[in-house]
């Protein structure tokens, strides 16, 4: 695999124009490396300084390693309730 599929929601889905994008980076890579790669993509300029990332349904630290097969999602500022 030379890309990581990333789930997108709400304003991030609007920014990148889809609900899933393939980010061109080879796993394993860190969460912050993935975010850096996303900044270079169309719509990536609309990401905040430290976007939240979830890996396998849990919030992930910037240095967490993403492996092939992990479910990765970029989490916009939450606004439930």
């Amino acid at each position: 695999m030379s890309s990581v599929p990333v789930l997108l929601f709400a304003s991030y889905a609007d920014a990148f124009g889809g609900r899933t994008i393939d980010v061109p980076i080879r796993p394993p890579c860190t969460v912050s490396e993935l975010v850096d790669a996303m900044r270079a993509m169309a719509g990536g300029d609309r990401l905040p300084a430290q976007p939240l990332v979830a890996v396998n349904h849990a919030y992930a630290a910037p240095d967490l390693l993403i492996r092939d097969g992990d479910e990765v999602a970029l989490i916009p500022p939450v606004a439930g309730g």
């Binding site: 929601f9 709400a10 304003s11 979830a54 999602a73 606004a79 439930g80 309730g81």
Partner: protein
């Protein structure tokens, strides 16, 4: 409180992301128990204005599997911090109109202080952790995703 009620959860909390209207009496029945003396409930409802703009409805979107997991984590933390508390949380997704309930939390305990503290903790944690988003529909026809990290334009 009268009438038939669903079978209460035996151990563990009830959490759910739902599409149908939330039935608060049914949620309360889930945490009811012979040992319960106090039930604190929170309802979040859609209001007709926000940040100075007239709101006609709200789309709620969830990252469903993670939202359920995160609600479970919040509920587990609450039952660890306030032993004996019984928790039920439901968050609705889809398009809601003014007055519709988007979220309902019921916390029950033998005593009122733990029930109220646990309820408040649940809604505060939910607001900052659970991956759910809302897009407001305004009276002028526009729609916008709400970003709580962005300062409000008006009070």
């Amino acid at each position: 409180m009268a009438g038939e009620s669903p079978v209460p959860v035996q151990g563990g909390a009830h959490v759910a992301v739902v599409t149908a209207p939330i039935d608060v009496a049914a949620l309360i029945a889930r945490v009811q128990d012979d040992g319960v003396g106090a039930i604190a409930t929170f309802l979040g409802t859609v209001r007709e204005h926000n940040d100075g703009r007239a709101v006609t409805g709200i789309d709620y979107e969830a990252y469903e599997p993670m939202a359920s997991r995160e609600l479970e984590r919040v509920a587990t933390e609450v039952t660890e911090r306030w032993p004996g508390v019984r928790v039920a949380v439901e968050h609705r997704v889809g398009t809601l109109r003014v007055r519709d309930a988007s979220v309902a939390i019921a916390c029950a305990h033998a005593r009122r202080a733990p029930a109220m503290d646990a309820m408040r903790h649940c809604i505060e944690e939910l607001k900052v952790r659970v991956p759910i988003w809302k897009r407001e529909h305004y009276a002028d026809g526009t729609r916008e995703w709400v970003d709580p990290t962005r300062p409000a334009v008006t009070a």
